[in-house]
């Protein structure tokens, strides 16, 4: 019985020191229990986070994934775009030649008027 009392006293003294050790522990936003967080918030990795923010984070991750997919598709379609651009360039060159021809025709027609003046 004496040993039991001594053990109890030793444990009690040790436990009595816990409040002293706990001074300064934890921060205002830390959580170990769900009830540490306000309504609409959840405890994630020791920090209170809003469930809406968590949903947004998931959505953002999804949108990032979609963007990555879009980039991959764009890279796959790059040769097609390049060919299209090349065709467009040729078309532009042809139209430029036509414009030049029109300009020269106009100049030629203007020249006789100047001579007449």
């Amino acid at each position: 019985m004496r040993y039991a009392r001594a053990a109890l006293v030793a444990v009690a003294v040790g436990l009595s020191l816990l409040p002293l050790l706990s001074v300064g522990c934890g921060t205002g936003n830390s959580c170990l229990r769900l009830s540490d967080c306000a309504n609409g918030m959840t405890c994630q990795a020791g920090t209170c986070a809003s469930t809406a923010a968590s949903a947004d984070a998931d959505t953002t991750e999804g949108s990032v994934g979609n963007a990555a997919d879009a980039n991959a598709q764009a890279q796959d379609s790059t040769p097609v775009d390049a060919a299209t651009t090349k065709d467009a360039g040729e078309t532009d060159a042809e139209s430029a030649k036509e414009n030049d021809a029109d300009t020269e025709t106009e100049a030629d027609s203007a020249a006789p008027e100047a001579d007449a003046g």
């Binding site: 039991a4 830390s30 170990l32 229990r33 405890c43 994630q44």
Partner: protein, 176 residues
């Protein structure tokens, strides 16, 4: 979960049998705080100051006076609020020192269920005595836990215990 149900059933049956052969011996009020530890979701054990709580209890003891049961209601008041109960089996080594074990938990706003053990040291010779009560609790079940880890409380309670039985005896004596 089955273990906690069996533990609760055993405590209830023990409380019933003790209460059947016991009389109300005392009541106490006090305050407690200490340290809280648990898995915060990062896979490591985090420590912090436990919530400060106010408590009130009623103690039944057998006529032999060595063993008894106590029922406690407590309110955690800061930094966050919750309400809970404890039910304990108490063994008195002497008039000044008791050991106890039982079940503890909170019910509002979330549920926590676990076990508690500790010791009570009483000071004073009158019917109103001061008590110092270190205890440790392990709470592995409940909706208040963000992970499947166990939440630990190491608490130190301070308060006053009144010996109701002597007051009742005095009152009965006066009436007689």
């Amino acid at each position: 979960m089955k273990r906690s149900v069996a533990l609760a059933a055993a405590l209830v049956s023990l409380a019933t049998s003790t209460a059947a052969s016991a009389q109300v011996m005392g009541a106490d009020i006090g305050a407690a705080s200490g340290m809280e530890a648990g898995d915060d979701g990062t896979g490591t054990t985090a420590f912090r100051r436990a919530r400060t709580r106010l408590r009130a209890s009623v103690l039944w003891q057998t006529e032999e006076g060595n063993s008894g049961m106590s029922a406690i209601a407590f309110v955690e008041i800061e930094p966050h609020t919750s309400f809970g109960n404890e039910i304990r089996y108490t063994y008195a080594f002497s008039r000044r020192m008791e050991a106890f074990g039982g079940a503890t938990g909170t019910w509002v706003p979330h549920i926590l269920i676990g076990g508690v053990a500790g010791a009570t040291f009483l000071f004073g010779k009158s019917d109103m005595r001061l008590f110092v009560e270190p205890s440790i609790s392990a709470l592995p079940f409940g909706t208040d836990l963000p992970t499947s880890g166990v939440l630990m409380w190491g608490l130190l309670s301070l308060g006053v215990r009144g010996d109701i039985s002597s007051l009742v005896a005095e009152k009965n004596g006066e009436e007689k």
